[in-house]
């Protein structure tokens, strides 16, 4: 088996109000593997993802990136984040910057690249998400699917070791979902290591190497994507049938 890129060990998160959103989650993601996290609303999927790149601090547990613990004060948080790409449900493009500048911002100010080098890298990733023709547009003038593809390019440009997708298609109209999923599928096929939180069960089955079903802050079921077709737990069965309706 190939190396573990990302590992999460008995992660717990209690929010300030006392909500125990994650109650001990463990999993590993290997090089080139794509993991899909599914689960009902409020089960703690987003919380897990945010704890991984420490947008929120896990209350307990260990997160490792390439074997080195990243949720300690010793880890350079900005460096860690630049090695983990994150794509948000609501895109979160920088509204005041054109597409090109959205992508080059991190390259120039985190990677300290010169303008030309950054532009070159940006063109490559924008080509990969098929957005090269809109480099001068402002995010406000893009469709939802285009925005999400730019957001993917922005994360990709940093050459992350792992990509985290938090419901990348839930904010999109049905006809726009396809292009984004296509892009992610392409990435998976190229061997990008990724964790995808999604409600697109079909997509999870086709693209993900493994699937992780979360329920009430715990991993209820885990296995290859085939478990979607014959879930063992009754909760997962219920969940899948509710989605398929």
């Amino acid at each position: 088996m190939s190396d573990s890129i990302l590992s999460v060990e008995s992660m717990e998160k209690t929010y300030v109000g006392g909500v125990h959103a994650v109650r001990g989650v463990s999993f590993e993601v290997h090089e080139g593997e794509s993991l899909a996290i599914i689960g009902s609303s409020g089960s703690g999927k987003s919380t897990v993802l945010r704890c991984i790149n420490r947008l929120i601090e896990p209350t307990k547990g260990i997160v490792r990136l390439k074997g080195e613990q990243i949720n300690t004060p010793a880890a350079n948080i900005n460096d860690v984040r630049s090695r983990i790409g994150m794509v948000f449900q609501s895109f979160e493009l920088f509204a005041h910057l054109r597409v090109m500048d959205n992508v080059t911002l991190g390259l120039r100010h985190v990677r300290r690249m010169g303008k030309e080098e950054a532009t070159e890298v940006a063109r490559q990733v924008l080509e990969r998400v098929d957005m090269l023709d809109r480099v001068d547009a402002y995010p406000g003038n893009l469709s939802g699917g285009q925005k999400q593809r730019v957001a993917i390019a922005r994360a990709l440009a940093m050459k992350p070791e792992v990509m985290l997708f938090d419901e990348p298609t839930s904010a999109l109209d049905p006809e726009l979902i396809g292009s984004v999923l296509e892009t992610i599928r392409g990435l998976a096929e190229e061997g990008m290591t990724m964790v995808v939180v999604t409600h697109e069960i079909g997509f999870a089955r086709d693209v993900a190497d493994r699937v992780l079903y979360m329920d009430e802050g715990l991993v209820a079921e885990e296995g290859p994507s085939s478990i979607i077709d014959n879930p063992k737990t009754s909760r997962m069965k219920e969940f899948l049938s509710s989605i398929n309706e």
Binding site: V16, N53, L55, T72, P73, A74, A75, N76, N78, D79, R81, S82, R83, I84, G85, M86, F88, S90, E92, L93, F94, A95, H96, L97, R98, M100, D101, L105, G106, H109, V110, K115, E116, T119, V135, D136, A137, Y138, P139, G140, N141, L142, R154, A155, M158
Partner: protein, 787 residues
């Protein structure tokens, strides 16, 4: 590559706007720096006298005022100078005159003399036919010694007396030109001339004796002399000396002459005095007229008209609504208060109070005529407008800077927990950061080199990260610090008891301690802060989470989060609370009169940018700070005439407006920051930008756009609030309005024009902001920028 360059342009607030704004600012300062030095007014419209001729001399006698001038022009006014009738007496230039004994004698420089008799009784025709002085002798000045006898003086020492129908030469062999003659009565008279000559007679002009003028003026041209009373006479030289002679014991007036020490000299408008001291006026003077023992009016070319009420010690130049090229030739006073000043081009301006009104003593304009009113008031309003714009621009700049800094402090997430978790390397790097910032600014931005302090910074960061990882928080050290803070705080507070007690306050009077003992009060505040910090730190047990306590049996919980206290936020809150909870007008007065901030900034400022240094090194930046008069011939040579440091009230006004506005702008900007979706911060952090970078590159550019409209309101408020600067004597529009009313009594017009002036400023500001808003609008973003 092409798109790379074009795309960078439009995304941030256009650079050009900043340049434009600073250009306007600088231009204004440069323009106003020079305009403050002089009052320039148009004189051509005051020709109410009805003549265009130059009026050279005049007399007031028996309720009539007479004026004489070029080409035989002669006019009289029966109503104190308001209306005039002009006529011609021959075609000569009447250049000197004297009156008394019911007659007026006039003379032209070529030696022709005429006497007008029975003044005030309707008989104003030329009386006797007086022949010219023999041999073509000229006349510089003339004096009447009785209704029909005259003494004249002229060039080359000529003194002639006209007595009983014929001319007698009374010259005493003086070679110098004689300029002025003045008789106290029919016996006692004085003559002055070039080479410091002063002659005196006690027998009606028959014989003349030398008098000694002071050594300093022994070479000077004494152009005017006035024998006012048995105890006082004055004379002036064209260099601006004022000579005074008093009766000393039994020695009569005229024997002993002293030069008056000019202690202070004020420019028009009663502004700050020119250089003090010296014994000459800073202007050329041609005539002196005594109104009383000590009160005199001095006139000269270049629009010079000045009043002294103490015999020349303090001379204040009067602001007159005529141009500074106006030539004043004579002062004609009916009594000590009412009279006119006459000059070239038929100029007649009148006063009814000897020019004693604070700002404008002489009045000619009919302020009921709107055109004349505007002519008079527009200059003042423009000065006020420029003054307002100056403090507003600086106030906005200062307020915005403070607002941005405060809002960043207020939104900064640094909490006590972060402070407590700092290790020695982090503390060390906090010491290094300022140096890093400075060298980054210089080396990084200007020279685009790598910052040499980068290395130590990253070493420090690594070490602190290492320590943070390898060792848990040192609870013992934190407690020790806590104890130390407790002791410090305790000492701070107890140390002030003595001082507070010595104020002798009872009960509620203690709320005034901040004023009575500001230092003690500051210590108490600091002490309280230290005590709170000390308690928190000393109670540290390594657990920084929120503490919850059950309150009795109610089931409610009391939650305490001392480690969540945000010190930077607290600091900013104290500031904004203070400035938002006291009236701006009080802040103005407190800052200017109480703290004397203007003086405290000006003095060291002028030391730093002193004249000796700037004389040769002035550039346009230092001109903004302070501009010195470098024209050697100017009386203000070496004194500040422009720039921020010129005026204390100006400095104080900028500070009051800026500090106050900063508190409000802080809240506005903070609101805008809060309006940016939190996802933007997360997105920025998720690609590895640190907090400050995300703030600077992602949050602020959007927040600033959002807050343009509310900031615009804030700035308009600042403009309107700038009117309060009048309470500290800063001559902005409103104060100018009050001064205009003091002169013109046109209340409606004045306040109306003041309002228009404000409207012009705020409207311009609004247009600029609207333009900015438009320019910085983010395409496709409907909600932000108010687009």
């Amino acid at each position: 590559m092409a798109f790379g360059t074009t795309s960078r342009r439009g995304k941030e607030i256009p650079r050009g706007t900043g340049w434009f704004a600073s250009f306007v600012l600088i231009a204004l300062i440069l323009v106003t720096g020079s305009s403050q030095a002089q009052e320039v007014r148009c004189g051509c419209e005051f020709n109410e006298s009805g003549t265009e001729s130059d009026l050279l001399t005049g007399e007031a006698l028996n309720g009539e005022i007479w004026a004489f001038g070029t080409e035989g022009v002669a006019g009289k006014s029966l109503d104190g100078g308001l209306t005039w009738e002009f006529d011609n007496f021959g075609s000569l230039d009447w250049s000197s005159s004297d009156s008394g004994y019911g007659s007026i004698a006039i003379a032209s420089s070529n030696g022709t003399v005429a006497i007008l008799e029975n003044i005030g009784e309707g008989g104003d025709d030329i009386g006797q036919d007086i022949p010219s002085i023999p041999n073509g002798v000229g006349i510089n000045a003339i004096a009447l010694t009785s209704a029909s006898s005259i003494v004249t003086v002229g060039d080359n020492g000529e003194i002639w007396q006209y007595l009983q129908g014929s001319w007698v030469n009374r010259s005493i062999g003086v070679e110098e030109d004689l300029f002025s003659i003045s008789f106290l009565d029919s016996e006692n008279g004085l003559i002055s001339g070039e080479g410091g000559i002063i002659l005196a007679t006690t027998d009606g002009g028959i014989s003349w004796d030398y008098r000694d003028s002071p050594a300093e003026t022994s070479e000077s041209r004494i152009v005017g002399i006035d024998y006012f009373s048995t105890v006082r006479a004055y004379a002036i030289t064209d260099e601006g000396h004022i000579l005074k002679s008093s009766r000393e014991g039994t020695v009569p007036v005229g024997f002993v002459w002293n030069i008056v020490e000019i202690e202070r000299e004020y420019p028009p408008g009663g502004g700050d005095e020119f250089e003090p001291g010296g014994n000459t006026l800073d202007f050329e003077v041609t005539s002196v007229e005594l109104l009383s023992q000590f009160k005199m009016i001095l006139t000269g070319p270049n629009g010079y008209l000045a009043l002294s009420k103490d015999g020349g010690n303090i001379v204040s130049q009067q602001m007159v609504p005529v141009s500074n090229v106006t030539v004043f030739n004579a002062v004609v006073m009916q009594d000590a208060f009412r009279g006119v000043v006459i000059g070239d081009s038929g100029l007649v301006i009148r006063t009814e109070n000897a020019g004693e009104e604070e700002f404008v003593g002489f009045e000619v304009t009919d302020f009921n005529d709107f055109g004349q009113f505007v002519d008079y008031s527009k200059e003042r309003l423009m000065d006020g407008l420029v003054a307002t714009v100056k403090i507003v621009l600086f106030g906005i700049a200062m307020g915005f800077t403070i607002g941005v800094i405060l809002s960043m402090l207020k939104t900064s997430p640094t909490s006590l927990k972060n402070v407590a978790q700092m290790n020695r390397f982090q503390i060390l790097s906090m010491v290094v950061i300022p140096f890093w910032v400075v060298s980054q600014l210089i080396i990084g931005t200007i020279m685009r080199l790598k910052n040499p302090i980068d290395r130590p910074m990253s070493v420090l960061r690594e070490k602190s990260a290492h320590i943070a990882a390898s060792r848990p928080v040192n609870v013992f050290a934190i407690r020790l610090v806590g104890l130390a803070l407790l002791v410090l705080g305790y000492l701070q507070i107890t140390g002030t008891f003595e001082e507070v007690r010595s104020l002798n306050l009872d009960g509620w009077e203690h709320i005034y301690v901040p004023v009575g003992a500001p230092r003690a009060f500051a210590s108490i505040l600091l002490g309280i802060g230290l005590l709170i910090l000390g308690v928190i730190f000393a109670s540290c047990n390594g657990d920084f989470s929120i503490k919850e306590f059950d309150v009795g049996s109610t089931g409610k919980k009391l939650s305490l989060n001392p480690w969540g206290l945000r010190p930077l936020n607290a600091l900013a809150t104290v500031y904004t609370d203070f400035f938002r909870n006291t009236p701006l007008i009080v802040q103005f007065m407190f800052i200017h009169f109480g703290l004397e901030l203007g003086r405290r900034v000006q003095e060291p400022g002028l030391d730093l940018f002193d004249f000796e240094y700037l004389k040769d090194n002035a550039n346009f930046l230092t001109n903004i700070i302070v501009t010195y008069e470098t024209d050697l011939s100017s009386p203000a040579y070496g004194h500040p005439i422009g720039g921020v440091l010129e005026d204390r009230a100006y400095i104080s006004a900028i500070f009051a407006l800026g500090l106050n506005s900063g508190a409000y702008q802080c809240e506005t900007i903070r609101g805008a920051i809060a309006a940016i979706p939190s996802g933007q911060m997360e997105a920025g952090r998720s690609i590895g930008l640190n907090y400050m970078q995300t703030m600077k590159l992602v949050i602020m550019p959007q927040a600033v756009r959002i807050c343009i409209p509310p900031l615009g309101n804030e700035m308009v408020n600042l403009v309107l609030n700038s009117s309060l600067a009048m309470v500290i004597g800063y001559a902005e529009i409103t104060r100018q309005g009050k001064l205009i009313i003091a002169t013109t009594f046109q209340i409606f017009w004045t306040w109306g024009m003041v309002m228009i002036s404000y409207f012009v400023i705020t409207w311009t500001l609004a247009l600029i902001l609207r333009y900015l808003e438009d320019k910085t609008r983010i395409p496709g973003l409907g909600i932000s920028g108010g687009a």
